[in-house]
């Protein structure tokens, strides 16, 4: 893969511009074409890949250039002359290192080029303090995942340096304060430099390096040698950074006299517990002083910050839909999909496809199958790697998803769109898509858009970002909203908006599985970054640490919507019950499917078995599946039209349902493990049709869309488009 890129927007309107940021290696030129993406699955048993070329050339050939991905988080205070006043100095800081034993330097703080001062963990995992070319270090190694109180001092009058470390929580009588001191030189001029002040990294010839992994808390600088200990009785500070302020922002606050406020780069984790946290406080909003730390990671990434290579203005006559710019040369191609949303005053189509971009972000560049060895167990077969996987494995700088862990084993809280996302492309083959096409998220959703195209439906497209920013006004006039195959990640505003739409008479077709599962929040500045904290239950790669279940961006209690009082069952009638990624199963019609109220759904369908075929596991019910649970809010008027009956034992009950683990919780035995296809009326003649299976769309696309799953879906859509009242 010699071409990578991303756009500045997921969603754009006519007459607006999209900027494309590109990085290339090993090539000199590339071209760019504009396409409409109709159906992205390349499986030769599928309906056929379909893209429509709209513009061959967007101004190329373009000169290829390399743009680095600047991965790693840190704090920066731009060069301030006030630092030049420092002659003597003392530092104190609490640290909680999370990744040691790797034989490399990790900087805690630095204001140093050739001259200057720097406090760091050296390549022997010992605390070291450097002033110009002088250094002092402690003799003992520090250990991971302990809070240490670190001090360092230089006295210009007598030339002494001092360094100490002390465990904050003593474990035994051997945990004494470790100290080292010596005389180096009087009146060292360490301030005569023009450089920025860094926290959790340093700068070497403009390159940000030596990232620190772990928490940093209560960093203070004094302009003299002073007594520093855990008693906290200290003199006036030169700088005193309080990370418990502005937790929802990328700023950090200096409550010292010099107001040396700083900025965070690449979104390190905030709203994380500090050295002084205790179990009485689980919510940072109640007492943020217990959350005075920031967790930095060498693999945080929120913005590649690449320069724009070209931009494209959307013509005023271009219809709403899913488009992509294809970057290509003779041997490589890279797609950057985006959505053109309808103009505000000319929303003419009755159908809206809601592109679940929050869920695309949650899975962006995920390393499932590469980093998660259990993947082979849940897929029930060997994991297939392709060129994209090989590239991802060799290029960790592409950043992480909510399915990965940071290198230090801590959870990934944030995912950003400002980076190349290699699994957000047509033609992409995933890991969890089941035997067959093995498509996931965006490319699986093109089974739905390809189906709409095949039957000639005109439809508009918006993204989750649009739903978040524009709310009900954006969707209220559509007759039918169709979801993607796996709209798993939802913010409060998004879920409330869909609920309001439904109850104002809107009609919702939930053509997926495991939807509306995790509660997310968006970054306060934009919808480019989402946050999720996977607390309390749910199928997940990690669980939140105690006290860290509230998002930093909005302060919401994150985790399952089920634990937040809005289970997906309330919205769609069904909720997540199991997952497995080998083979999918058919649905069997129930007696209720012959009810006159739902006759329109089964017009022309004679079969009792629905979807015993498909591109996603060979059946219509599979991958991640949902069923009715009235205790969780499935409405009383719900009709279960068909259900799957038996899945393999790769399918297991979810942790939130597996309250008392016992034998018999696999797919061949547990009754709860099934998809329910349901229909129910809502207020004002609204209605919901839900299928409860990610694999459903893979069956819609089977046999060139000629099959009973496709027929049922079409019957529902046609019925929903009519204004007739449901019985």
């Amino acid at each position: 893969m010699n071409i990578l890129g991303y756009a500045d927007k997921f969603s754009v309107m006519q007459n607006e511009s999209v900027e494309f940021k590109v990085s290339c290696q090993n090539i000199k030129k590339y071209n760019a074409a504009l396409l409409k993406i109709v159906q992205g699955d390349i499986n030769d048993k599928g309906p056929g890949y379909k893209e429509i070329k709209l513009k061959d050339n967007l101004g190329g050939p373009f000169n290829a250039r390399y743009q680095k991905i600047p991965i790693g988080s840190y704090g920066i205070i731009r060069n301030k002359k006030i630092f030049h006043k420092l002659k003597s100095l003392s530092l104190s800081v609490y640290i909680f290192p999370t990744l040691l034993k790797r034989g490399r330097k990790q900087v805690i703080l630095s204001r140093k080029n050739n001259n200057g001062f720097e406090l760091f963990i050296n390549n022997e995992d010992k605390i070291q303090f450097n002033i110009n070319n002088y250094n002092i270090k402690l003799k003992k190694k520090i250990f991971e995942k302990n809070w240490y109180f670190i001090t360092a001092k230089y006295n210009s009058k007598n030339g002494s340096v001092y360094i100490s470390e002390e465990l904050v929580f003593k474990q035994n009588e051997n945990n004494v304060i470790n100290v080292n001191k010596k005389i180096i030189k009087k009146n060292i001029d360490f301030t005569n430099n023009d450089c920025n002040f860094f926290i959790a990294a340093n700068s070497n010839n403009g390159q940000i390096k030596n990232f620190y992994n772990g928490k940093i808390d209560s960093l203070k600088i004094y302009d003299k040698e002073t007594k520093l200990d855990l008693s906290k009785k200290t003199s006036k500070t030169f700088a005193e950074w309080d990370f418990s302020k502005f937790i929802s922002s990328d700023k950090f606050f200096d409550k010292g006299i010099n107001k040396l406020h700083g900025k965070l780069i690449n979104h390190p984790a905030r709203a994380v517990t500090g050295y002084n946290w205790n179990e009485k406080n689980q919510d940072w909003k109640i007492n943020s002083t217990n959350y005075s730390s920031i967790h930095f990671h060498e693999d945080d990434l929120s913005d590649c910050n690449w320069d724009t290579d070209f931009k494209f203005k959307i013509p005023s006559k271009m219809k709403s839909g899913i488009y992509a710019v294809k970057l290509f040369n003779r041997s490589d191609e890279f797609y950057i999909p985006f959505c053109i949303k309808p103009k505000k005053k000319s929303r003419k189509n009755k159908i809206l496809f809601l592109m679940p971009t929050a869920s695309y972000l949650a899975y962006a560049n995920n390393r499932i199958g590469i980093d998660v060895p259990e993947t082979e167990l849940v897929c029930g077969r060997l994991i297939e790697m392709n060129k994209q996987d090989i590239y991802l494995q060799e290029h960790p700088e592409l950043g992480l998803s909510f399915y990965d862990l940071h290198e230090d084993g801590s959870p990934v809280f944030y995912s950003s769109k400002k980076r190349p996302i290699i699994n957000f492309q047509p033609k992409s083959v995933g890991k969890l898509g089941g035997i067959g096409s093995n498509v996931w998220q965006f490319n699986a959703d093109t089974h739905v858009t390809g189906w709409l195209d095949n039957f000639g439906y005109d439809f508009d497209v918006i993204t989750d970002s649009d739903l978040q920013t524009e709310g009900l006004e954006l969707i209220k006039d559509y007759s039918v909203i169709i979801t993607g195959t796996h709209p798993e990640y939802y913010s409060l505003k998004m879920i409330e908006t869909i609920e309001k739409y439904k109850n104002k008479g809107g009609r919702l077709m939930y053509l997926g599985g495991n939807g509306f599962y995790w509660r997310i929040s968006y970054d306060t500045k934009s919808t480019d970054i989402i946050e999720c904290r996977k607390s309390e239950g749910g199928i997940r790669t990690f669980e939140t640490k105690p006290g860290e279940s509230y998002t930093s961006t909005t302060g919401e209690y994150s985790g399952l919507w089920r634990r937040n009082g809005i289970p997906p069952n309330k919205l769609t009638g069904i909720g997540m019950v199991s997952q497995g990624f080998d083979v999918s199963s058919p649905y069997y019609r129930t007696n209720a499917s012959y009810n006159k109220k739902v006759k329109f759904i089964f017009n022309g369908v004679k079969e009792k078995i629905i979807g015993n075929f498909g591109l996603s596991g060979g059946g219509a019910s599979g991958l991640e599946i949902d069923s009715v649970n009235k205790d969780l809010g499935s409405p009383d008027n719900i009709l279960i039209l068909a259900s799957s009956k038996k899945h393999t034992d790769v399918y297991m009950m979810t942790p939130e349902d597996m309250l008392d683990p016992a034998p018999g919780m696999g797919g061949t035995e547990a009754e709860i493990i099934k998809s329910d296809m349901v229909f129910f009326k809502t207020l004002n003649n609204g209605a919901v049709f839900s299928v409860g299976s990610i694999a459903w769309a893979g069956s819609m696309a089977w046999n060139n869309y000629k099959n009973n799953v496709s027929k049922i879906t079409k019957n529902v859509l046609d019925g929903f488009l009519k204004k007739t009242k449901f019985k």
């Binding site: 390393r367 199958g369 590469i370 980093d371 060895p373 259990e374 082979e376 167990l377 029930g380 077969r381 060997l382 994991i383 297939e384 790697m385 392709n386 060129k387 996987d389 090989i390 494995q393 060799e394 290029h395 960790p396 290198e407 080998d582 083979v583 393999t648 034992d649 790769v650 061949t668």
Partner: protein
Amino acid sequence: MSRYQINKTDVKYAEEFRNNLYLNNYYHSPSLQRILNLFRSGPKKGKYVIVKLNNKKIWHLGILPENRGQKIKIYKKIYFESLLDAEWYVFKKRWKKHSGKELRI
């Protein structure tokens, strides 16, 4: 990681696996599932994968490395024209690893 240990009575489940494989049957007996859980669990380092290098239906044997950034080892000379053949090949390799003996069926 599974703690199950292969024993000599398990050969019949290896036969079941081979039969299921070529019948595309993913509903295995509990005894076979237990063996598969052992074979398919374990750490990332050294885990077998299959690698498709282009659009052709040819899959190479591969092995995952320990850390991000390291290359996936790809055996260019060990390749399969069928996913099922690859699955059976790896099953036999894992059988030998866990039982110490060749699977001769």
